[in-house]
Structure formats: C-alpha cells, structure tokens
C-alpha cells in the first residue's frame, strides 16, 4: 500500500518536474525578451537618461518628472487622441470589410482560391512598399489619383500635406492593407461553421439577415474577438506609415504616440522621456487588450 502510494507521489512529482522543464525555456525567453526590457524601460523612464549626455555624466534618478512632463504636453495628448481615433476607425472598417470579403468569398461556388489569393496580396506586401506605392499614386505632381480626378473635372488634393486629407488617407491605406488579414482569419472561421445549421435555417425559412445574425456571427464570434484584438494592438502601434508618409504632419494632425515618441525621444536621444512614453503606451494597450481577453475568456 505504502509502496503504491510512494510510486504515485513520485509519478506526480515527475510529471510536475517534466511540466516545469518544458515550460522553462519559454519562461526564460519571455523573461529575456519581454520582462527584462519592460523593467529596464520602466527604470529608464524614472531617469533623465540621454544617450549622448550619458557619455560624460551618468543618468540621474528624477522620479516621475518624465511622466508629468509627458502628460502635461498638449502634443502628447493630441498624439494619444490621434492614435485612439485612428485605432477605432481602422479596426471598425477593417473588421467590416474583412467580414464582407470573407462571407462573400465563402458563399462563392467557384473561383474561391483565385479570389482568396488576390485579396490577400495587399497584406503580403511590406509596409514600406505599400507606403511608397501610395505616396507615388497620391503625388501632387505625377500621381495617378490626381490625374484621374482632374481628367474627370473633380477637385484634386495635396493628400498628405492638407490637414483635411492627411489623416483620412492614412486610414484608407491602413484599411486597404489590413482588411485582408481580417478576411483571412474570418474566412477560416467561416469554413468551420457546420453546414447543417444553414440547412436547418433554410428549411425554417430564415432570411439572409437572420442567418447572418443567428448562425454566422455566433459561430465565429471568437474569431471576430481575436481579429479585433490583434488589429487593435497593431493599429495602436502605427508608426511606419505615418513616419514615411506624413512624419506626423501637417500641424501634428497625424502624429501618433509612436511618432511623437520617435520625434521627441528617440531622434534626440532622450531615452528617459521616450521610455516614459513607451510605458504609458504599454499601459493603454494592456487596458484595451484586457477588455478583449476578459470577454474571450468568459
């Protein structure tokens, strides 16, 4: 009896040890690549660390001064607002277009593969290529968009230099590039919806709208939540398109948090101030993500 119990205990301990040994590499990688930089960034955010000045005199601990300066800065607040606004519109439209594309392609009897590949192309392009292509197309001199508009006697714009058009154009480009990502995830989810549910709905005389609301959406709601979460985090980190196309201008109308931190922290080597901004951004992203994660887990 005792021997059996000992064997059971040692078996459980072995299983536990195996579990721990399996999880350890991941934990170590996470600690090195995520926890350590995060702790270090937080530490820097409490100092006046400047890369060049530190060559002569070490960084000093200044408490929460960087945070006070950051949150008191009207341009940082504007950058937060621009980022939130961008995220809301981008996620909303990308989800909408991605969903429309996915349901449309899923409903096709022929040509699904070809259309699926074509629709995915924008997402496969590197962001720099996308930004530069759009910059050429929207150029006030040789851009095809203005040529087409003027040939149709429509008003032309200086898209990235006009305060009225710069922000919407960034949104359009992001939606164009990222909707296929949503499409891909939702299309995969739609393929897994049991067909008998649709058949039952058809027999019951459900309309297309009712089928969508009562069958399609409930079946793919987890994928919808995941898409929204991933797109929210990605949109919140928007930097490359802004930096390449507008640099945050005109008149700060397109400055996002990352662009602001790049201009005021990284470019001038003021890493203490930049770190404070990065921590604020991390907190906001965590708050947003936690809502989705909580909902998904419940």
């Amino acid at each position: 009896m005792n021997k059996n119990r000992e064997r059971l205990v040692s078996g459980a301990a072995q299983t536990k040890r195996f579990g721990v040994s399996m999880i350890t590499p991941t934990l170590i990688v996470l600690i090195i690549l995520t926890a350590y930089p995060l702790i270090f960034t937080f530490y820097y955010s409490l100092t006046d660390y400047n890369l060049l000045k530190a060559l002569k005199s070490p960084a000093q601990f200044i408490g929460l001064k960087n945070y006070v300066k950051l949150l008191g800065n009207e341009y940082f607040r504007k950058a937060i607002w621009n980022t939130v606004k961008f995220t809301i519109f981008a996620v909303l439209f990308e989800m909408l277009f991605g969903f429309i594309m996915a349901t449309f392609i899923n409903s096709l009897r022929r040509g699904q593969k070809a259309l699926r590949t074509l629709l995915l192309l924008p997402y496969l392009l590197p962001t720099v290529t996308v930004a530069l292509s759009w910059r050429m197309m929207l150029s006030p001199n040789y851009g095809i968009v203005n040529h087409v508009l003027s040939s149709l006697n429509l008003p032309v714009y200086n898209w990235f230099a006009d305060i009225k058009t710069a922000f919407p154009m960034l949104l359009v480009i992001d939606i164009w590039q990222s909707s296929p990502f949503v499409f891909l995830l939702l299309y995969a989810a739609l393929q897994a919806v049991p067909q008998d549910q649709y058949e039952a709905a058809k027999i019951e005389g459900a309309t297309t709208f009712e089928t969508l609301i009562y069958i399609t959406i409930p079946n793919i709601k987890n994928s919808l939540a995941l898409c929204a979460l991933l797109r929210t985090i990605d949109s919140f980190r928007l930097f490359d398109k802004v930096n390449l196309l507008t640099g945050g201008g005109p008149a700060n109308s397109t400055t996002t948090i990352t662009q602001y931190l790049y201009n005021t922290g990284i470019k001038v080597f003021d890493f203490g101030y930049g770190s404070a901004g990065a921590i604020v951004m991390t907190i906001i992203v965590l708050l947003l993500a936690s809502i989705y994660i909580k909902r998904a887990m419940s």
């Binding site: 090195i32 060049l52 060559l55 006030p140 990235f160 230099a161 305060i163 008149a251």
Partner: protein, 426 residues
C-alpha cells in the same frame, strides 16, 4: 533523455546570456606594435589590408567620396566600406556607436546642426591633436562650426547652402530673369504671377518639423530675424519674426507644401515656380528648365541685405573612438586635398574651396558654382546648440500650426516662445 535535453537547453541559455552580456573591450595593443596593423601579423608575410568603415550621408554626398577612395585604398593598403545612410540614420548611427569603447566608424559625415551635441559630449576626435589643420583655401565662413576653442573637430566637405530653385520659364513669364530677383517682393511677384497663370507659386517642404523650419529660415533672415539671441536663448516672438511669418503666409498661399522629390519635380516640369533648395538636389545647365540663384537677403526694395543663405554643409570628422585614428586622419586630409576635391566637381561635388568654385574651367562648365560660392561666403549656420534638435521640433510644430491655419501668427509665436522656454533645459 529529459534531463539531457534540459541540460542542453540550460547550457544554450547560459552561452546566449554570456554572449549578450559581454562588453566589448578595446583591443590592447603592445606598446611597440605599429598603429593600425594587427599586432600578431607575421613580419615576412605581406600585411593584410586594414578594413576601414565610413558612415556617410547617402546621395551625391557619399558618391563623390566613394569615387576618390580607390586611389587611397591602393596607396595605403586598406579596404574601405562605405555606409550610405539617410540623415536620421546617420545621426543616430554615430551617436549609438559613440557609446562603445572602440567604435565601428573611421570617418563620419556630420551635419552642422549636430556639431554642438557631438562636441559637448566628446563624440568627435580633436583633429588638431591628430595633426590636421584647415587651410586658407577653404571659404572661412564655412569653417565657423568646425573649430571649438581653437581646436578643429570637423572639416567642411560638401558646400550645401540654401538657394532659390526656380523654373526659368515661369520666372521669365513674370518679367524676371534669375539674376534680377533682388528681394523677397520679387519672389512674391513671380509666385503670384505663376498662380494667376494656373500654376503653383512657392513650394515649401512641410513634411517634417525640421524641413518646415529650414525652408522658412532664409525668409526670417531676410527680415533681420533669427531664432536665438546673442546669448543663445530662444527669441521667436519678435516683430521681425512676426513680419517674416506674415510675409511667408502670403508667399506659401501661392503654392503648397510638398516633399523634396515633388518640389524638385514641380519646379523642373514647370508645375510650380520656385522653392528653397540645395545645390546637391539639382544640376542646372543651359538646357535644363530649372536653375537656382542665391537668396539676396533683402526683404523689400531699399531694405538692408542680411546673410540669408542657411548652411547645410556636410562636414567630415573622425569619431573619438575611431578604430584607426592615424589612417582616418590621413584619409580625411586626402579627401580635403584641393586637387582631390576639384576632381569631384564633374560628379556633382561642391567643395567649400575657392580654388574649385572660382576655377575658370569649372565655371565655364558649371556656371552655377559662382552662385554657390556667393551663397557659401554669405551663409549662416543653424544655431550651434546641443538643444537645436529639440528646438526645431517645437518650432516646426508651431510653424506648421500657423501655416495650416490652426493658430494665428500671434498665438503660434507666443506658444512657440513659451514652449521653447519651458520644455527645453537651457
């Protein structure tokens, strides 16, 4: 098996951590080892070529240097790698490399506006101590930022200075020739005439805070204004600044903001009349539709003439942690040699030297160098302040607000002044 796997993983992590945590220590050289030569190289074997690395501003600026390197490489048994970098990458690249005990770069290209922060923090080597001195052939005004407390840290290599880039036909249609543009009123008249003809008048770069400021500075200087006072404190809410800004608003209303490439294309194709440009952007000839001239620094007819051409001179220097200082100074002296510099002119080189810019053969082939020489003689560097990058960021943001109509001139300048005073440590 599991234990072995765990042990292997742990060993991998330990090695990875050890490799990441290793601090690069400067290679110790025996006292009698010749400089820039591997200490352990056998005496009877031909010495292996020393590898040098140059960090340069991409474009014409780097191309003209690359052209000169093969002769130096052959003569000194070195192999040189050149990194062509964008302006921001070059700036951050030099700064990031400065924190290493022994750096990567032997020679770097430095923009005048970075000089203050680099010298204040010991990023650059003292060229005087390394045996290099600037010669009298170099245009004196271009050396203003190169010398600190009697010690030379940089050499002016590429004579970049703001000029007025214009479309010849549109200027002619407005009743002017390039040489006739005597003051800012003439510029405004030409741009208004172009606008009336359905073209764009004045084009400025509004794509970054730095560009917004730089394109405005020649106008500000022509009104007798500047961004700092004699004590290097910000002074942007002044009557001169306000007058310049009001004039600039009228001027930019004739055109629009564009990126550099679009600005050049607009002026070249005749879609736009003019804009502030740099000699490195455009090679005018008798056949090209565009040309450039120096900005006279006169606001209105009868007003005094101020120095209004802003330097964007690309200087060359040696980092303080350079791996091969002796060879680096030798290379710098070679690149600054007047004959070597003269030879770069056909490829677009703009030496800051009288012997090149006033050379009769050069002027016969490239008459625009006369204008460049005048502009270089009457140019002004951006403030030599370690705070300049922060300053142009704030000023550019407020100027952008004014130009986009988000703020009035008074409100924008008052905000700029108060932010410059409160957000930067002076």
């Amino acid at each position: 098996m599991k234990k072995l796997l765990a042990l292997l993983l742990a060993l991998c992590m330990v090695f990875a951590l050890a490799a990441c945590g290793q601090t690069a220590a400067p290679a110790e050289k025996p006292a009698d080892a010749p400089a820039d030569k591997p200490a352990d190289a056998p005496a009877d074997k031909p010495a292996e070529a020393v590898k040098m690395t140059l960090a340069l501003r991409g474009g014409t600026y780097a191309e003209v240097i690359k052209e000169c390197l093969p002769a130096f490489e052959a003569e000194n048994n070195v192999s040189i790698e050149v990194l062509d970098l964008a302006e921001d990458d070059l700036h951050s690249g030099i700064a990031l490399d400065a924190i290493n005990p022994t750096g990567t770069y032997d020679l770097v290209m430095v923009d005048g506006s970075w000089m203050a922060e680099f010298t204040a923090n010991g990023v650059l080597a003292n060229l005087t101590e390394l045996g290099y001195e600037l010669d009298d052939d170099i245009i004196p005004a271009t050396t203003a930022i190169c010398v600190v407390d009697g010690q030379t840290y940089l050499a002016p290599y590429y004579g970049n200075v703001t000029v007025l880039l214009y479309n010849k036909q549109l200027v002619k249609d407005a009743g002017f020739e390039g040489d006739d543009i005597a003051n800012l009123d003439d510029i405004l008249a030409i741009c208004k005439a172009a606008q009336a003809a359905g073209k764009k008048g004045f084009i400025y770069r509004g794509d970054s805070n730095n560009n917004t400021v730089v394109d405005f500075l020649p106008i500000l200087l022509s009104f007798g204004g500047w961004v700092v006072d004699e004590n290097n404190k910000p002074t942007v809410n002044t009557p001169e600044f306000k007058a310049a800004m009001e004039f600039y608003l009228e001027l930019v209303a004739t055109g629009e903001a564009e990126k550099k490439d679009d600005l050049i294309a607009s002026v070249d194709t005749g879609a736009g009349a003019m804009g502030v440009g740099w000699p490195g952007w455009y090679k005018p000839t008798a056949e090209t539709p565009a040309d450039y001239c120096a900005i006279t620094g006169v606001a209105h007819d009868g007003d005094p003439a101020y120095l209004a051409n802003v330097y964007g001179v690309w200087t060359i220097g040696v980092p303080a942690n350079c791996p091969h200082p002796e060879l680096a100074v030798k290379l710098l002296s070679y690149l600054m040699d007047k004959d070597v510099q003269l030879a770069t002119v056909p490829s677009g080189g703009v030496p800051c030297r009288y012997s090149a810019l006033q050379n009769e053969e050069v002027l016969a082939a490239y008459p625009q160098y006369k204008v460049v020489c005048q502009a270089l003689e009457g140019g002004k560097y951006r403030p030599v302040l370690a705070q300049w990058p922060q300053m142009y960021d704030i000023l550019g943001a407020e100027l952008g607000n004014i130009l986009q109509g988000v703020k009035t001139v008074d409100q924008g300048l008052a905000d700029a002044q108060s932010r410059l005073e409160s957000e930067i440590d002076w």
